[in-house]
Amino acid sequence: MTFAVVTLIIFSFLSAFRVLIGPTLWDRLLGLNLVTSKLIIIIILMACLRMESFLLDMALVYALLSFIGIIFISIYIQRKGRF
């Protein structure tokens, strides 16, 4: 199980690297989305390891907030700054 958490951390660094490289703006958004979903998996695996259920609430809130954030960023870009 800890091996799973470590590999997921490495994968989140790789997708964060995609945010750095990403030629277009939307590659960066895509990378952000991937990093967020991997972090949610890591939080859930940590909650499974430590058997604490408040971590699950945190993962849920983080998923919803990242959803709202990315949606509004993409809408902001789509309207070319006139929000």
Binding site: A4, F11, W26, S37, I40, L60, A63, I71
Partner: protein, 97 residues
């Protein structure tokens, strides 16, 4: 016995996510990258969460994890749709190689 099954399922999920990471770096244009990354990532997500749910049997913990799975199943495609839609509407065209 249940520990073994859940570990195997979690490793399968990690293999899916690894494929998603390879998919990001393999493709050169944005649209195919977005298609592969989001789809494979969601599949890996589902596999790992099912592995966690199997590990904990039937309890409040599993109910919460199942609820997070439902929420994310709805959210992930929506996020990717909005990203690709903003890319398309803002005029990101593919150059014909």
């Amino acid at each position: 016995m249940r520990e073994l099954i859940s570990d195997i399922i979690i490793f399968i999920g990690i293999a899916f996510i690894a494929l998603g990471i390879i998919g990001i770096y393999r493709f050169n244009n944005f649209y195919s990258r977005a298609l592969v990354a989001s789809k494979v990532d969601t599949v890996g997500y589902i596999t790992i969460i099912i592995g966690v749910m199997i590990r904990h049997g039937f309890s409040y913990f599993t109910m919460k994890v199942f609820f997070i799975l439902l929420i994310t199943l709805i959210i992930n495609p929506l996020i990717t749709h909005s990203i690709v839609r903003s890319a398309f509407i803002s005029g990101y065209k593919l150059r014909k190689e």
